[in-house]
């Protein structure tokens, strides 16, 4: 039951965010400060998720070859730009 509620909540929230400005009447704009803050949301939120000590403990199970490939791969999009 908890899982289904979570799934429903996630689906509603995500679609509402995606549809927000596509469905609103023209003329409604985001405040400039909010727009600027949105820029930092992915970097801050994702770092908060993987910066947790619990997350790092899980990384102990990661094979060294795989983690090395990951760091190389994470740098790749930058070099493609």
């Amino acid at each position: 039951m908890t899982l289904w509620l979570t799934l429903l909540g996630m689906a509603l929230v995500t679609f509402a965010l995606r549809a927000a400005f596509l469905l609103l009447p023209p003329g409604v704009e985001l405040p400039p400060l909010f727009k600027r803050a949105l820029r930092y949301v992915p970097a801050a939120a994702l770092t908060a998720l993987w910066g947790r000590p619990r997350c790092w403990r899980r990384m102990n199970n990661c094979p060294p070859a795989l983690s090395q490939s990951l760091w190389r791969g994470a740098g790749a999009p930058r070099s493609l730009r």
Partner: protein, 211 residues
């Protein structure tokens, strides 16, 4: 674009199953939510027995950027029929938005915008679902003693490092990392939301100081 989607989709599928989400529910989540980072995050939080409200709030924070994309895409689709706008909303994703911006960012009056967005969106969507399905199959077929829990942190690192494009973004990430360590004893996993808030504030302050 597809080269970037497939590995992350596979890792997301593996991470969800490794966190204890049943394979069918994981696939359903992928189809309905269609937002990789929040799916991995929710799997992590569910595995840690976080309350539903917190999982939904974390989804809201992680996916806030879609609101920014939605605001930006309104310039192109404000006068499209309702059904088309709903389809556009469902298909909004980082890479589809990036493709749209690259093609029509400087030429917003060119024809064929809706067709281009829907075409790119459907291809990305299909590749993503196939990759997640492959990840779920791999994750479900692996014996528990292989301990694939590291898949989720790997997925987060893979998404977040390319985001650190400028100093303000790096400041936001460092502040969030410091805050998550300092706030790790907060109840209900609220440390994630607090750390994200601190990171956003740090990014804004850095940007202000620089200007």
């Amino acid at each position: 674009v597809l080269l970037g989607i497939v590995p992350f989709g596979v890792v997301t599928g593996v991470a969800m199953v490794a966190s204890g989400i049943p394979p069918l529910v994981a696939m359903l989540m992928s189809v309905i939510v269609f937002a990789g980072a929040s799916m991995v995050a929710s799997a992590q939080l569910l595995a840690a027995h976080a309350p539903v409200l917190l999982v939904v709030l974390a989804t809201l924070v992680i996916n806030l950027r879609f609101m920014m994309y939605s605001a930006s895409l309104r310039v192109h689709f404000a006068h499209a029929p309702l059904g088309a706008r709903l389809a556009v909303a469902y298909l909004i994703a980082d890479n589809v938005y990036g493709l749209m911006l690259a093609r029509f960012g400087e030429h917003p009056d060119d024809p064929g915008k809706l067709e281009y967005f829907l075409g790119a969106g459907v291809v990305v969507w299909a590749a993503w679902q196939a990759a997640v399905a492959a990840g779920i199959l791999i994750g479900a077929g692996v014996p528990p003693e292989w301990r694939l829990e590291f898949a989720a942190p790997l997925a987060f690192i893979a998404i977040s490092i390319p985001l650190l494009r400028d100093r303000a973004m790096v400041a936001a990430a460092i502040a969030a990392a410091a805050a998550i360590l300092l706030a790790q004893d907060l109840p209900l996993k609220l440390n994630i939301l607090v750390a994200a808030g601190v990171g956003i504030l740090a990014g804004l302050l850095f940007e202000r100081r620089k200007s």
